[in-house]
């Protein structure tokens, strides 16, 4: 086998990617796994192999501990694992281009599973670009990978399971919390309760969430409910934090570190660049790829598994990864259709169980409306420093979409390529033009998916293979 060719290319070594790799290998496929991190585990199990050998494991909780077995099964499955690899383009066929240690090269595969997970939903507010403002996920990664906690008592603003989990882990590690600005709007519990009957099979999860909340209440730091607006201020770094609740109560506190979180959204840049159809997920307020029951996209032999397919958490990511791998094995003749179907059946019921509580969580922790309607002075595009006011002014001149406004203002043109401003842009355009957000669409995503230097391009060893085409006249 040519080392650059495999049956299956998996992008991402988190729960979905690892599960897909193990399944595909079990059925005799050759598998390559690319991941931008230095070790397997994805975001949920970041640094699990290192931490598993230390006493730090205990304070990170049971669901983190579970990653150790997964990483070890993945390591021994026989997949070609390429850590610290940045994927920046996939051409039909498939030829994938990646950069590793400053060198670019390409690899080929007959099928692709994108297991690129989720990112935290960007939460723009005045001052969110100041040093000292980070996401809750970032702080949790610092805890897992560097055993680091905020030096002084930290302010946390947001909603969802992650802030509760992080605060619990932070206290267990000896960190200190200045206060929690809970941004869950009033009345959400009522709205969420109608989804609860379906989630009753997940009582253990509910109990876990409740026990976090109770323990945090007992910890004694202030918890301010129904916070609607935030403003961070400081000269060159965060110094103070101003908040206002839905009822108009205001407060101002000094702060060195503020952590924010308003849920997570699928990473859709790779599927979009590949031309995969996406549709708006009203419950999760984001785009998700259109997938069949195997996780196959509108592009033949391109699959999406894990949170990239819609937010479901690690427990849903694993069956999704295995289901996609089974389909690829059947496609490539390594497994009968009937065998794949029967193996997928139990994975599908596992997936359904894992997703049972999701509509309840989605309704309870849906982002507050202010997340999508930041004040005019807010930088929406962090890279090119374009404000909400500038986008609003452009949005009413004619009826431009996100791509036209991008061309006018440079919003979305910086190194993050719209990962931080895409949804805010879409909502601002929708509100200004009185259209539903799903009608406005998203930035057109083109390669390279990550910035590539000319030096890296020049290092593409097989530039010579371009001569397979007719030489230019």
């Amino acid at each position: 086998m040519n080392v650059n060719e495999t049956d299956l290319l998996i992008v991402g070594a988190g729960p979905a990617g690892m599960a897909a790799a193990v399944t595909a290998r079990r059925h005799g496929l050759s598998v390559r796994v690319l991941d931008d991190q230095p070790a397997p585990g994805g975001q949920i199990w970041r640094a699990i192999e290192t931490v598993a050998a230390t006493p730090r494991l205990a304070r990170l909780g049971e669901s983190y501990r579970a990653g150790a077995d997964r990483a070890s099964a993945f390591r021994s499955c026989g997949a070609l694992y390429e850590p610290e690899s940045q994927l920046w383009q996939i051409e039909p066929g498939f030829r994938a281009f990646l950069t590793q240690q400053g060198k670019a090269r390409s690899v080929t595969a007959r099928a692709v599973i994108l297991a690129t997970g989720a990112q935290e939903r960007p939460v723009p507010f005045p001052g969110w670009t100041l040093p000292g403002v980070l996401t809750v996920g970032a702080a949790q990664i610092l805890l897992k990978t560097a055993d680091s906690v905020p030096t002084s008592p930290v302010w946390i603003a947001g909603c969802g399971p992650l802030p509760l989990l992080y605060m619990t882990q932070l206290l267990a590690a000896g960190g200190r919390i200045a206060g929690f600005l809970d941004t869950t709007p009033r009345g959400r519990i009522g709205a969420a309760l109608r989804h609860l009957p379906k989630g009753l099979g997940r009582l253990a999860d509910l109990a876990k969430g409740l026990s976090w909340s109770l323990a945090l209440k007992r910890a004694g730091f202030p918890i301010i409910h129904h916070v609607a607006e935030l403003r961070a201020e400081g000269a060159g770094r965060l110094e103070s934090l101003h908040y206002r609740t839905q009822d108009g109560r205001e407060g101002e506190v000094t702060a060195e570190v503020l952590l924010v979180h308003e849920g997570v959204v699928p990473n859709i840049h790779a599927p979009l660049a590949l031309g995969c159809a996406v549709s708006w997920h009203a419950g999760q307020h984001c785009y998700v790829p259109e997938l069949d029951s195997w996780g196959e996209t509108s592009q033949v032999n391109v699959f999406v598994a894990g949170d990239g397919a819609g937010i479901g958490g690690a427990e849903a990511a694993e069956p999704r990864g295995r289901i996609a791998a089974l389909r690829v094995a059947a496609r490539l003749g390594k497994l009968g259709e009937g065998e794949a179907e029967s193996a997928a059946r139990s994975e599908r019921s596992r997936l359904a169980r894992a997703l049972a509580l999701r509509p309840f969580l989605d309704a309870l922790y849906a982002p507050r409306p202010q997340v999508f309607a930041p004040a005019d002075e807010t930088l929406v595009c962090r890279c090119e420093e374009v404000t909400a006011g500038e986008l609003r002014a452009r949005a009413v001149q004619g009826r431009p979409g996100p791509n036209q406004i991008k061309a006018f203002t440079r919003a979305g043109m910086g190194p993050c390529q719209g990962r931080q401003c895409g949804y805010t842009m879409a909502h601002i355009v929708a509100a200004a033009q009185n259209r539903p957000v799903e009608e406005v669409g998203f930035y057109r995503i083109r390669p390279p998916l990550k910035p590539v230097t000319l030096g890296e391009l020049a290092s593409l060893g097989e530039l010579a293979s371009l001569d397979e085409r007719e030489p230019a006249a």
Partner: protein
């Protein structure tokens, strides 16, 4: 801004930030080390030259772009530290020669 909870012991290494030696631990990222410095910013922006620091720590915000061993605009959160690594904070737009 952040502090490390344990003593790295045998995993301790030294890297250089803007020429100054700072302690680091094998396995952690450049961005994690930057966030422990008294000056926790890592670059100034090309547009307004305002300071920025690591924000997402998972490769999607590109705020932690720094120069690593002479290579500009490297994502610090995706770069594990190596002994003797030389990090430079980036000021304003990157130069073409960098």
């Amino acid at each position: 801004m952040f502090r490390k909870l344990h003593d790295p012991g045998a995993q301790a290494i030294t890297i250089f930030i803007d020429g100054r030696p700072v302690p680091a631990e094998l396995g952690e990222s450049v961005a994690a080390v930057l966030l422990r410095q008294p000056e926790a910013w890592c670059r100034t922006t090309p547009v307004s030259e305002s300071p920025r620091a690591p924000y997402c720590m998972m490769g999607v915000c590109f705020e932690c772009l720094v120069e690593v061993d002479g290579l500009a605009s490297v994502q610090g959160c995706l770069t594990p530290v190596r002994s003797g690594m030389r990090i430079a904070r980036q000021q304003g737009p990157r130069s073409l020669s960098a």
